[in-house]
């Protein structure tokens, strides 16, 4: 019998809300949105954790500009505070080496992380999801009960085709969907809004393509001052998060 699954509920018991930033599609801004969301909530005085579940393309640590932080061992592992956020990522253990994990190993590593991480009391745990609807998505649904999905897309048909699949799956499973964010908007287009409507998912608004965003990567203070962060905050102010 695997003893780890049993303790996960207890480890997450003092977390008020679990927010999974997801898409199904890659490269739509999940990591930028998850990290900026966590930073914004923390700035407002909330206790925030950030969990990077993209084990093969971890990005949140790059966006945060993580240096020399490492979890403390204390009846488990306690995530270090990075710019005010309790930050957990596989990078502490795999450094910047490739981690060629198969799905079954990804699943095992998630269970291990959830079983040993001591988040303590949190208002929000933001989860930066990988692309796909595989092991990470299924395990989040299985083990992180009560998670709410913040779904991201770009205006492109190709992206929407995949995002639609995640939305359909979540709806079928009756998982709460906070809504759909349309990111990297450059030109007028109503596809994303229409897709949301068709699936009865709240359309939360759009974030413009921000050509200066790249310069803020690795610098959280700068990041919070970008047009990207401002657009995101307008969207969040329409939710019950901020």
């Amino acid at each position: 019998m695997d003893p780890r699954q049993n303790i996960i509920e207890k480890r997450l018991a003092n977390i008020n809300r679990l927010i999974a930033v997801a898409s199904g599609k890659g490269g739509v801004g999940k990591s930028l949105i998850a990290t900026t969301l966590a930073l914004s909530l923390s700035k407002k005085g909330r206790k925030v954790g950030l969990l990077d579940l993209d084990f093969q393309g971890p990005s949140a640590h790059v966006i945060l500009g993580l240096k020399n932080a490492y979890p403390k061992e204390e009846k488990g592992i306690v995530p270090p505070e990075v710019h005010g956020i309790r930050f957990m990522s596989i990078v502490y253990y795999v450094k910047d080496e490739p981690s060629p994990l198969r799905g079954t190993d990804v699943s095992n590593a998630i269970i291990e992380l959830l079983a040993i991480t001591q988040w303590k009391k949190l208002d929000f745990l933001v989860v930066d999801m990988p692309p796909g609807i595989g092991d990470q998505t299924l395990d989040l649904i299985r083990f992180m009960k009560g998670s709410e999905f913040l779904v991201t897309t770009t205006p492109s048909k190709v992206a929407l085709e995949t995002v639609k699949k995640l939305l359909k799956l979540l709806k079928e499973l009756k998982i709460p969907i906070m809504g759909l964010i349309e990111n990297m908007k450059m030109f007028p287009s109503s596809l994303a809004r229409e897709q949301a409507k068709e699936l009865s998912v709240p359309f939360l608004g759009e974030i413009s393509f921000d050509r200066y965003l790249e310069e803020a990567i690795g610098n959280p203070n700068k990041l919070l001052e970008t047009k990207f962060a401002r657009d995101l905050n307008v969207i969040l102010s329409k939710t019950n998060l901020l």
Binding site: Y92, E112, L113
Partner: protein, 141 residues
């Protein structure tokens, strides 16, 4: 001391399982600890003891006389590409202290730091001895 978190997982699972099975007094639990994770058995046993003491003090007497048997399970890895099978211990000296510690926390870090000794592939399976496992629980209803 992250062994504490795993010990807590074990006790919590033992308690819940015995409740489900309507066991009143648990006589013995057999735990296997996989060599790959390099659990410190002494710390682990100490943590189990402390957690049990606390629970007995609080409310739960079902654990009072529980014997704990811990067995270390040798770890084996098997390459999906060339089929070669090897024991973790035969290669573990090649790991640096940092690498060992990473595997201690997340055994899947093995896919970053270990390669098939025969064909150098990272595409192997951990066939035995990954981490903590409850082998059996004995008790009386």
């Amino acid at each position: 001391m992250h062994e504490w978190a795993l010990a807590e997982a074990v006790i919590s699972t033992v308690v819940e399982t015995s409740k489900k099975e309507k066991v009143k007094e648990i006589a013995e639990v057999k735990i296997k600890i996989g060599e790959l994770q390099q659990i410190d058995e002494e710390i682990f046993r100490f943590a189990l003891g402390e957690i049990i003491k606390e629970m007995v003090r609080d409310q739960d007497s079902s654990l009072e006389n529980m014997k704990i048997k811990i067995e270390e399970e040798p770890s084996f890895l098997k390459c999906r590409v060339c089929g070669h099978e090897w024991s973790f211990i035969s290669q573990s000296k090649k790991l640096s202290e940092d690498e060992s510690e990473s595997i201690h926390f997340i055994p899947e870090a093995a896919y970053v730091y270990i390669r098939c000794p025969k064909c150098k592939s990272p595409d192997f399976e951990i066939t035995k001895g990954r981490g903590v496992w409850i082998d059996s629980i004995r008790g009386t209803r």
